[in-house]
Amino acid sequence: MSEKDDIYLDKKETNIGSLNQYLTFKLEQEYYGLQLEKAKEIIKPPKITNVPNTPKHVMGVINIRGKVTPVIDLKEKLGLVKNHKKKDNNKIIIINIDGIMVGLYIDDVREVLSINSDDIEKTTDGKQSLEEEYIKGVFTSKGKLIVIINIEDILFDNNNPSEEVKNA
């Protein structure tokens, strides 16, 4: 893994008043955002070791500075259709939730946006194929709809239809 390409996220001043910073990324043709403070770093995918007898969305594990870290195929976990072929842009966002590190495999990272919490619309118009409980709301930036996801709920929800054990 070449650390030169990795982006270490500077988490200073992620909260300015009611402004929250969101890391936006791409899954297929759709844009998503998650709270920047949850993200620890972004890396280019190293070789992922497959873990048998785990749910299908678990792509495997990688070594993040000596810590065995699972990588989740976010599209699989969210039940999105997968058309996107593996490209150079693919990234893994390392998330830290209460000390548990999880990597999210995504198509590409876009940018960090400061969004006023009032500007996040709670209503969704069905444009995205996500279940509503995973969504905090939507936000429009430069004409593009960004779906703000609730990453904790997504990762720790056990009633997901894609939980069946895979046959790798």
Partner: protein
């Protein structure tokens, strides 16, 4: 004294050890009231604790230990007989000591109301009439047999002192003799010198202050030339209050004369009747380290090992590189083994608290119990030992409270009126087994199952399908109890579920065996979860897996024609043993497709021990043997079937560790 704080930790460590020694010896004394050795041990422990408390200025604790010391002195001089009353009194005293120490730890003060207890103690001491005061404040003028080679001064030094000393100062040659058996000579010597420094100026000393702070010392006597305006008595008193200082020898020096004209009055203070040749404490010299620090150390060694492996994989073609690698290898190995050893502790350190507990419990419940401990020396990872205390306490309480019957009941049943409880630890292969066994009334299965159904833990139908063995294990379900009476000792069977949960969290297992009227046996098995293990690396499908060496009995290559069929399953016959074959890919849920192993000419087989029997695991390739650092497979994934963890291999990638225990 200004530097008390830095000794506080030492104080806690020592008092814990002395409390252990006291508890242990009082138990011994109860069984063997005439044992003078034990009495002497108790006296010495109380004495040392007193000295320590006095040094640290914990007055209440000093008084308490002083009184206990006095009581033991009476016992030692046959003025008081060891009765049950005395034993109880002593135990009560130890409990107070423990409580006070805890309070000091929590609140920093030993402010504690002991009036009632001290009064009781006093009464008992009074009973042993006419004795001489036995405090170490007694100053004995003992000129003989004291190793009084004092430090001397040459003429230059004398002149030097003469020029610098103030009018009221006196020059003393002071020798402080330390208890020969103390484990903390260095600390004691340092305390002596620091205390002396408070009172004046140390012109020179042996050992000198610097060497005391820097290295281990061997001397039993701290010698110094002290220039001070304090009078001799104050110096003696201050220095003799320091723990383990058994004698002070002090002489005022006439620096204008030669050494031989030293004033000959020689004061010696000696803790009376110390017989340092007999009955040494069974206290080991220890440094207390938080388990977190050890974990961190272990992690770092793990990192080191991983990097070493990666370095080896570089395979640089240079003389120097090839010279250094074996050395690096040796150092890392030794480092690893040392830390492993640090983490291992005999389980006895935890078992030691139980005899006292069982004794108290059996007294409270008016039962007669023989408590046997076996396998104290069995070693376990320290973090596991720490976790085992509560579950074992619970199991033993249950054994006393619910297991063993009252003497009259036992007699009626035709049993020996004294019940037996056995606590046993031993290693079995790569597991540590701990058993708690009693010969009490056993578990009433009908009652247990009836309750389980009543509490809707199982249905009547499920119950009918269960065998006896399975029914018994219901006791580990939450909220089940077999005693109708509520006892303040172990509640109502509450906690067996907690026991099970704790053991499971340690990657172990627990089961119960019980025969009505014959007794109950609870067996805990714990894996020797070592953080670093030797493993065989194999290739399965295209991934590298590690199989712990202690699970492997051998590896071999077989030809497809050697495979036989038994009841439709593939087996091989090895030295007349029939061993079933398992395709590792199937155990790991890897799609096999048409690529069946039997079509290969030759296959690699790892014979592993699984669920008590041997099975042959077919893998794609045997790679190499390697030390691996065991890492958890991430909390996010939880327990994964047939995978026990992960490790980092040479190229920095993750390899999974196969758990063969249930693979068959």
């Amino acid at each position: 004294m200004s530097d008390n704080n830095e000794y506080l930790d030492m104080f806690f460590a020592e008092s814990e050890e002395y409390i252990m020694v006291l508890n242990d010896n009082i138990l011994k004394l109860e069984n063997n009231p005439e044992d003078k050795e034990v009495v002497a041990s108790l006296f010495r422990a109380a004495h040392s604790l007193k000295g320590m408390s006095a040094t640290m200025r914990f007055d209440v604790l000093t008084e308490l230990t002083h009184k206990i010391e006095n009581l033991m002195d009476k016992v030692r001089n046959n003025k008081i007989d060891v009765t049950t009353e005395i034993i109880d009194l002593l135990f009560e005293g130890i409990d107070y000591i423990e409580e006070i120490v805890k309070q000091i730890k929590d609140e920093g003060t030993d402010d504690f109301n002991l009036e009632v207890y001290l009064h009781k103690l006093e009464n008992n001491i009074e009973e042993g009439k006419a004795h001489k005061e036995t405090s170490n404040q007694d100053i004995e003028n003992n000129n003989d047999n004291f190793d009084s080679k004092r430090l001397t001064l040459n003429e230059v030094e004398k002149n030097n002192i003469q020029e610098n000393k103030k009018e009221l100062d006196t020059v003393y040659a002071v020798n402080a003799e330390l208890d020969k058996v103390t484990e903390f000579k260095q600390v004691r010597a340092s305390m002596v010198l620091k205390e002396a420094k408070e009172m004046g100026y140390i012109f020179k000393s042996d050992p000198d202050i610097k060497s005391v702070d820097e290295a281990e010392i061997e001397e039993d006597v701290v010698k110094m030339i002290l220039i001070s305006n304090e009078n001799r008595e104050d110096i003696v008193n201050n220095l003799s209050n320091i723990t383990d200082v058994v004698a002070i020898n002090i002489t005022a020096m006439d620096i204008e004369s030669t050494d031989k004209n030293m004033k000959s009055d020689n004061e010696k203070q000696k803790a009376k009747n110390e017989d340092s040749s007999s009955s040494k404490f069974a206290v080991s010299s220890t440094v207390r380290v938080g388990i977190k620090k050890l974990d961190k150390l272990m992690n770092m060694i793990g990192e080191l090992l991983i990097n070493k492996t990666r370095l080896e994989a570089l395979n640089i073609n240079s003389e120097g590189f090839k010279d250094i690698l074996p050395q690096l290898d040796r150092v890392t190995m030794e480092l690893h083994h040392t830390v492993m050893q640090i983490r291992m502790e005999p389980i006895g350190v935890m078992f030691n608290r139980f005899p006292r507990m069982v004794r108290d419990l059996s007294k409270d419940s008016q039962k007669e119990i023989d408590f046997l401990i076996k396998g104290k020396e069995t070693e376990l990872d320290r973090s596991i030992i720490d976790e085992l205390g509560d579950p074992l306490t619970h199991l033993l309480r249950n054994a006393v409270d619910h297991g063993i019957e009252k003497p009259e009941t036992r007699v009626k049943k035709g049993k020996d009126k004294t019940g037996k409880i056995k606590l046993k630890a031993y290693q079995k292969g790569s597991e540590i087994i701990i058993e708690v066994e009693d010969d009490g009334s056993g578990i009433n299965i009908d009652k247990l199952t009836a309750k389980a159904v009543e509490k809707e833990l199982i249905t009547q139908k499920e119950l009918e399908e269960m065998d006896r063995e399975k029914k018994l294990q219901l006791i580990f379900e939450p909220g089940l109890s077999t005693t109708d009476q509520v006892s303040n000792v172990s509640g109502r069977g509450v906690g067996m579920d907690v026991v099970k949960r704790t053991i499971k969290s340690l990657d172990g297992d627990v089961y119960i065996k019980s025969e009505k009227e014959e007794g109950t046996k609870i067996v805990i098995s714990l894996p020797l979860t070592l953080a670093i293990q030797d493993a065989l690396m194999v290739k399965i499908d295209e991934e590298v897996f590690a199989i712990p060496l202690n699970a492997i009995s051998e590896t071999l290559k077989i030809k497809s024609k050697e495979i036989r069929q038994v009841k439709g399953n593939d087996v091989i016959v090895l030295r007349n043993e029939t061993i079933p074959l398992i395709d590792s890919r199937k155990s790991l849920n890897i799609e096999v497709g048409d690529n069946n192993y039997t079509e290969q000419e030759e296959m690699s087989v790892v014979i592993v021990k699984s669920s008590g029997k041997e099975v042959g695991l077919i893998v794609n390739e045997l790679l190499y043997q390697q030390e691996i650092v065991i890492k958890s497979l991430s909390d996010y994934l939880g327990n994964v079937k047939n995978i026990s963890g992960a490790t980092i291999i040479g190229d920095g990638e993750v390899a999974l560790i196969l758990d063969v225990r249930d693979i068959a």
